[in-house]
C-alpha cells in the first residue's frame, strides 16, 4: 500500500514540476521546509516568481537532482567532494539549525537537566538504562531523578537529523563510533523508532521518562523539555540562538572543499555541541540555464533579505562572510 503511495507521490512530484515550469523547482530535506516556504511566499510577493519546493527527504532530494528533474536539491547531510564531482554538482550551506535532547520527566523544566556527550551516547547505547544512574546524577545533583527505566526514542526513517546527532555521538564516544557509527539511519542498540521530527516530538511528549532528539524548532513549538549540554570546551550551555551562532561561527567554510563542514562538537566556550546546516545542490552545467539562474537569484535574495525570517523560525542565517564565499562559488562554478 505504501509502495503504491510512494509511486503516486513520485508521480505527483513529476506532474507538479512539469505543470509549474515557470516556477523554480526544488526537492529534498524536510528540516528546512518551513523556512524555504516562508522565503518563497515573501519572494513571490516581491518579485512575482514562485518557488515550488517538495519536502520529500534528503535522500529523495539527492536522487531528484541527480536525475535532473528539479533545478535544485536540498539535503541535511553534505555530499563529499568526490560525490559532487561525479554527479557534476555544486553544494553550499543555506541555513543552520540545532539539534537538542528532549526529555519527559515529571517536575523537570526546560533547560534544567544537563547531559554530556558521553552520557548521551551511553543512554543511546543502552548502557545507562535508569534515570537515577550515577552518571546522570553526577551531572544533575539538584534534580530529583526517578528510579524508572529510560524510554529511548529515536528516528525510524532515514534522516539528516539522525546523521548529525550520530555524528556528534561518534565524536564524543569511541564506543559509539565502533559499535554504531554515524549515518542517516543506523543500527540503534535500543529504543523505539518514530517517523520524522514530528514523530519523535510526539512520542517524547506522550511518554513518561523518555528521551529523544529533535531540531530545536520542534522542541520549542511542541513545548518539550529540552536539556542543556556540556560542550567540547567543558562548559554547560543551553540551546539558544546565541550558542547556536557561537558554534556556527567556528566553522571554517573557506577551507572546506565543497563546503563539506559538519557543525557538531565545535570548539568554543559558548558553542552548542549539536549544530547542523542544511545544504543546496545544483548542477554545474544545468540543462535549463534560465531556470538555474532564476534559482540563483532566489538564493541570493534569501541570503540578502531572509535572515530575519530565518531567525523568527529558530534557524540561524549564514554569516555574511560565508555568503560572500558562496556567491563567489556561484559565479565561478555555475555556467549560465
Amino acid at each position: 500500500m505504501n509502495f503504491m503511495k510512494t509511486i503516486v507521490a513520485a508521480g505527483l512530484v513529476a506532474a507538479s514540476t512539469s505543470a509549474l515550469a515557470a516556477d523554480i523547482t526544488g526537492a529534498g530535506a524536510t528540516f528546512p521546509f518551513p523556512i524555504y516556504s516562508k522565503w518563497a511566499d515573501a519572494y513571490k510577493k516581491e518579485t512575482g516568481n514562485g518557488l515550488n519546493y517538495q519536502s520529500i527527504g534528503s535522500g529523495g532530494g539527492i536522487k531528484q537532482i541527480e536525475a535532473k528533474t528539479v533545478t535544485f536539491g536540498a539535503t541535511d547531510m553534505p555530499l563529499k567532494v568526490e560525490q559532487l564531482d561525479k554527479a557534476g554538482l555544486i553544494q553550499w550551506p543555506m541555513v543552520m539549525g540545532a539539534i537538542v535532547p528532549v526529555v519527559n520527566l515529571e517536575g523537570v523544566k526546560p533547560g534544567q537537566l544537563l547531559f554530556d556527550g558521553d552520557t548521551l551516547a551511553n543512554i543511546y547505547l543502552g548502557k545507562i538504562a535508569k534515570w537515577n544512574d550515577p552518571a546522570i546524577k553526577k551531572l544533575n545533583p539538584n534534580v530529583n531523578l526517578p528510579a524508572d527505566a529510560i524510554t529511548v526514542v529515536r528516528r525510524s526513517d532515514g534522516s539528516g537529523t539522525t546523521f548529525n546527532f550520530t555524528d556528534y555521538l561518534s565524536k564524543v564516544s569511541a564506543e559509539w563510533k565502533s559499535k554504531v557509527g554515524s549515518g542517516t539511519a543506523v543500527e540503534w542498540p535500543v529504543g523505539v523508532g518514530a517517523k520524522g521530527n514530528e514523530g519523535v516530538s510526539g512520542n517524547v511528549g506522550q511518554t513518561r521518562n523518555s528521551i529523544g532528539y529533535v531540531e530545536y524548532a520542534y522542541a520549542k513549538q511542541n513545548k518539550l523539555t529540552y536539556a542543556g549540554m556540556i560542550n567540547k570546551a567543558g562548559k554547560a550551555v543551553l540551546p539558544t540562538a546565541e550558542t547556536f551562532q557561537a558554534a556556527a561561527a567556528n566553522a571554517d567554510w573557506a577551507h572546506a572543499p565543497g563546503y563539506y563542514v559538519i557543525l557538531t562538537d565545535q570548539p568554543g566556550e559558548k558553542s552548542w555541541p549539536v549544530t547542523a546546516s542544511t545544504f543546496i545542490l545544483m548542477h554545474k552545467e544545468p540543462v535549463d540555464k534560465a531556470a538555474s539562474s532564476e534559482a540563483i537569484k532566489f538564493f541570493k535574495w534569501a541570503f540578502a533579505k531572509g535572515g530575519k525570517m530565518a531567525e523568527e523560525l529558530d534557524y540561524i542565517p549564514m554569516p555574511d562572510s560565508v555568503v560572500k564565499l558562496i556567491e563567489k562559488t556561484w559565479s565561478a562554478d555555475i555556467k549560465s
Binding site: F3, K63, D157, G158, G181, E187, G191, V192, Q206
Partner: protein, 329 residues
C-alpha cells in the same frame, strides 16, 4: 383484426431475426465484458507478483535464502546487511496475540447475539460491531497511541511484569520494562480491529443453523453451551474458520495502526512488552527514504509478506478440507 394480423405476420420474421441477433450480440458482449473483468484480476495479481519479484531481485541475489533468518537489519552499513527475521517475528507475534484475543471474544459476541441476546439489545450491539469495522485504521493507531498506550504502559504491563516475575518462560515473555510502543500493544489493537470480521461472519453463519436442530438439542435437555458446542459450531465450522482467516489476513497485513504503536525496532528480545516491527510497518516507515539495495530489500520484505499471507490462507483451506473429510461430508 385480420389486417392487424397480416401486418404482424409481414413484419414478424424480419423483426424476430433482428431482435434475436440483437440478443445474441448483447449476450456475447456481456460474456466478453465479464470475462475481461475476471481475467483482469489475474493480470493484476500476476503483474503485482512480477513487479515484486523484479524489484526484489537485487536483494534476493545479494542475501539469498538467508534473508529469512538473518536478524540484523543495517541498511546504512557498507554493504548493507538486511535480514527479515525481526519483521517476520513481529508480524507473527502480533497476529498471534490478535487472534488469541479476537477469536474467543469475537465468537463469544456472535454466540451471545444469536443465541442469548434479548432482541432489544441485538441491534445496538450489532451496529456497534459494524461501526467498529468501519473505523479507519489510522484512528485505531491514534487511539492506541494516546489512550491505550498510556494505560497499558502504566497499569497493565507493570502488573503483568510483577505477576510473572521469576516464572520460567512466562517471565521472559512478560519481561519489563513496560513500554508505550510494543508488540503486545500492537497485537491488542489488531485484536480490536479484526474483531468485527470474526463476529459479523460468525453471526451470519450462526443464523443459517436450522432452528429444528437446535430445538431438538434443547429438547433432549442440552444446555446452551452444549448446543453451541455440539450443534451450532460443528454446523457452521467452515464459515467460522473463513471469518477467522479473513481476520488473520487483515492482521498480517495491517500497516498504519501498527506502525503508530509498535515502536519500529528490528531487535528480537523475546518479551512481548518490548518494541518490535512488522513487515508492513517496516516498509511503511522506511520505503520513502530508501534506495538501491535497501529499497530492493524492502520490496523483498513485501514479497515475503505476500507469500506468508498466501501460505496462511492455503494452510487454512487445507485444514478445512481435512476437517470436512474427517466429518465425512
Amino acid at each position: 383484426m385480420v389486417v392487424h394480423n397480416d401486418a404482424m405476420q409481414a413484419a414478424g420474421p424480419y423483426d424476430r431475426v433482428r431482435a434475436l441477433q440483437g440478443f445474441k450480440l448483447g449476450d456475447a458482449t456481456f460474456y466478453w465484458l465479464t470475462r475481461v473483468c475476471a481475467i483482469s484480476v489475474l493480470l493484476i495479481l500476476g503483474g503485482i507478483i512480477v513487479s515484486l519479484i523484479a524489484g526484489a531481485w537485487p536483494a534476493m541475489k545479494q542475501y539469498g535464502i538467508a534473508f529469512l533468518w538473518t536478524q540484523r537489519w543495517a541498511p546504512a552499513a557498507d554493504p548493507p546487511v538486511l535480514g527479515a527475521l525481526g519483521p517476520i517475528y513481529g508480524t507473527l507475534v502480533t497476529s498471534f496475540i490478535a487472534m488469541l484475543i479476537a477469536i474467543p471474544v469475537g465468537l463469544g459476541i456472535a454466540i451471545f447475539l444469536t443465541e442469548l441476546c434479548p432482541p432489544s439489545l441485538r441491534r445496538p450491539i450489532g451496529m456497534a460491531i459494524e461501526l467498529l469495522a468501519g473505523i479507519p485504521s489510522i484512528i485505531y493507531g491514534m487511539w492506541g497511541f494516546f489512550v491505550l498506550g498510556p494505560f497499558l504502559a502504566y497499569t497493565f504491563q507493570p502488573l503483568m511484569i510483577a505477576l510473572f516475575d521469576g516464572v520460567p518462560v512466562l517471565g521472559l515473555i512478560f519481561a519489563g520494562p513496560p513500554s508505550y510502543l510494543s508488540l503486545f500493544n500492537a497485537g491488542l489493537i489488531l485484536a480490536i480491529m479484526v474483531l468485527p470480521f470474526i463476529t459479523a461472519i460468525s453471526v451470519d453463519v450462526f443464523k443459517t443453523v436450522p432452528p429444528v436442530l437446535k430445538e431438538a438439542a434443547y429438547g433432549v435437555g442440552c444446555t446452551t453451551w452444549e448446543v453451541v458446542r455440539k450443534v451450532v459450531i460443528p454446523y457452521t465450522r467452515v464459515g467460522v474458520i473463513g471469518g477467522i482467516m479473513l481476520a488473520l489476513g487483515r492482521a498480517l497485513g495491517e500497516t498504519m495502526a501498527v506502525t503508530f504503536i509498535i515502536g519500529n525496532s528490528f531487535r528480537i528480545t523475546g518479551s512481548v512488552f518490548s518494541p518490535g516491527t512488522t513487515i508492513s510497518a517496516a516498509i511503511a516507515s522506511e520505503f520513502a527514504e530508501s534506495d538501491g539495495l535497501h529499497q530492493s530489500g524492502l520490496i523483498l520484505l513485501g514479497l515475503v509478506l505476500f507469500l506468508l499471507t498466501f501460505f496462511v490462507l492455503a494452510a487454512a483451506r487445507l485444514m478445512l478440507l481435512r476437517l470436512e473429510r474427517k466429518a465425512g461430508k
